[in-house]
Amino acid sequence: MDFRLTADQSALVEAIDKLAAQFEAKPTEFRGFALLGDELDKELEYGQYFDIAQVPELGALCAAMAVERLARLPYATEIALSMLVRPQLPGDWPRPLAVVENGRPGRFVAAASTILVIEGEGISLVRTAAGDAQPVESLFAYPMARWKGRAERTALSGDEAAKLRKWLRIALAAEASGLLQAALASAVDHLTQRKQFGRPLGTFQALRHRMAECAVLAGGVRWLALKAADTADPADATLAALHAQESATRIVYDVHQMLGAMGMTLEHPLHLWTYRLKALLSELGGRGGQALAVAEECFGD
């Protein structure tokens, strides 16, 4: 146990920070639901960042740190699955990746080259072809599409599916961690600037305590996500995903309360984080599914 960053980890964090700096702000004229980060995607491809989990001195922990940092940007880009799940696929499957769970619309499905199709306990892989996906309008701040599923599937064995499910949970937790931090930071900005009754909202204890509790939850999500990425332990993955979905449920509601009507507008960037979090809440069985998985991994003797 040693939480100091190694020289390689520090160098990676610094490089990702530098890259992220160009994408920190929402374009002022943008008023949409999902802000697509094609330029960010290109930069990450160019720097070979999608492969950092396979670099021995970096590994999945660094990939999780990168996922978390990049999720704090207002841009929705398919990063988590490429960085954390793709290295675990049997054979070479092209990115971007998307997940279609029990026939529902999924994130990045229209842009994906490879789809992970989850049906009940089983997972199969599909190389997508043109016309397979039907984009759908949605409130979520990810591009959502329905997959029509004609192409041939490669079914995974039970062990392979369990391993992918584990890394899907880790990817979800790492992404949620970054989104939670950004949503909280956005609320802190508002509470610092917005004055009512002659003083900043952030001076009112009712709001301060609520925000502090949210910050504690978000910090816990971060630790559990990083730990699971490092240990690759299935129990750690279930705990990380459960704590992420559990905390996100509360924090999304609370930060919107902090922002009032301003948080309801498409002008304010808050929804670019909270409505990505909302999309993550139902994935992999949601909180109920995660709880069953925790019970199986942690309580089964």
């Binding site: 939480f3 003083r199 301060r208 910050a215 990083l226 490092d230």
Partner: protein, 378 residues
């Protein structure tokens, strides 16, 4: 950054576990062990003596004081194993965690020579005279006063919620020597000094746990002053920063959660509602564990701990709450004579957000120092 235990850490944990297996009586869990009970206090003196002989009481202290400079991880692994076992050290955990280190940092040579060696041998129990009827979270408003008379002080006032007071040899006392926050001083007062009256307060949290302590014209020599007059705030801050991530409450909470789940599984009652509640509690315990570890790691590497320590404390409070509520809701028979350790855990868990300072004060600190929200007007 990496999350695996190193060989030294693993070996140390095994050593502590082996010691506990060899030295805790077979019926340990069913003993009345409110941490401040008569039975526990006399047991803890024998037990801590053996720990000291095995080099496991104060391994993180400097060699000069009976330790081996083993670092913060060693101290915390030790604390985890002890707390998980139901804290057989009783009140002596305070000596190990912060009273000893405070003596090393702020004590006079005479005070160090008098008080540290018996602590390192596991022979002595302390209590902390902080809270007063009118000074809880607002500790700076305390009124117990120590007036100088020639070379001695005369102490008058009242302390409350004092744990271990009935069995303590010495009190780490905060008293006012002049007005204002900078007018508070620390005194190390032998509890057999005439004029000190201890009265137990019956409570929900275990036998002999909390007390009122009355100070009626208690005459103490000038040598009982700890640090300088008016230095209490600085000393208390240093002590409380160690105490904030002091008790690894998540360790016993996790163990008790698993025990409660086993009871439910055995009786075929671990259904959907219980599973969801147990899983949430398990995740909260794990979050508290790694939050706390992050602070321990900072201590280990000499990095000053910031507001994250308050967040770690609050995460621990939430974990304790999740587990004890799970037990109340799913295994209520545990609180009706069904399981001594689950009962003992409940009694300890309900003070998690209160002992060593109200958790709401930590939320204030998190809001200001971690989130950087503007301060409240005063």
């Amino acid at each position: 950054m990496h999350f695996a235990w190193n060989a030294e850490q693993e070996t140390f944990r095994s050593t502590v576990r082996a010691f506990l297996a060899a030295n805790l009586p077979r019926d340990w869990e069913s003993l009345a062990h409110g941490p401040a009970s008569e039975a526990q206090s006399s047991f803890s003196k024998r037990f801590c003596g053996k720990l000291a002989e095995a080099g496991l009481l104060v391994p993180h202290w400097p060699k000069r004081w009976g330790g081996r400079d083993a670092g913060a991880w060693t101290a915390f692994i030790l604390a985890e194993e002890m707390w998980e076992a139901g804290e057989p050290r009783g009140g002596q955990y305070m000596n190990v965690n912060w009273i000893g280190p405070a003596l090393m940092r702020f004590g006079s040579e005479e005070q160090q020579a008098r008080y540290i060696p018996p602590m390192a041998r596991g022979e002595t129990i302390w209590c902390q005279g902080f809270s007063e009827p009118e000074a809880g979270s607002d500790l700076a408003s305390l009124r117990t006063r120590a007036e100088k008379h020639g070379s001695s002080y005369r102490i008058n006032g009242q302390k409350i919620w004092t744990s271990y007071a009935q069995h303590a040899d010495t009190c780490f006392l905060l008293a006012r020597t002049s007005p204002g926050r900078d007018g508070i001083s620390v005194f190390l007062v032998p509890m057999d000094t005439p004029g000190i009256i201890v009265r137990e307060i019956p409570s929900l949290i275990g036998e002999g746990d909390i007390h009122e302590v009355f100070w009626d014209n208690v005459e103490v020599p000038g040598s009982t002053l700890f640090g300088a007059e008016g230095q209490a705030w600085e000393i208390a801050r240093a002590a409380l920063s160690l105490e904030r991530v002091g008790i690894p409450r998540f360790a016993l909470a996790t163990k008790m959660l698993h025990r409660a789940v086993s009871m439910l599984e055995r009786s075929g009652r671990f259904g959907h509602g219980a599973i969801e509640q147990a899983a949430r509690a398990r995740a909260a315990c794990e979050a508290a564990r790694f939050y706390s570890y992050s602070i321990v790691d900072q201590r280990e590497h000499g990095i000053p701990t910031g507001p994250e320590a308050s967040a770690a404390r609050f995460a621990t409070v939430m974990a304790e709450r999740a587990v004890h509520e799970f037990v109340v809701e799913q295994v209520p028979e545990a609180l009706c004579g069904g399981e001594a350790m689950l009962l003992a855990h409940h009694q300890r868990a309900i003070v998690a957000g209160i002992a060593s300072g109200a958790a709401e004060i930590q939320l204030n600190l998190i809001a200001t120092d971690l989130l950087k929200l503007p301060r409240e007007p005063r």
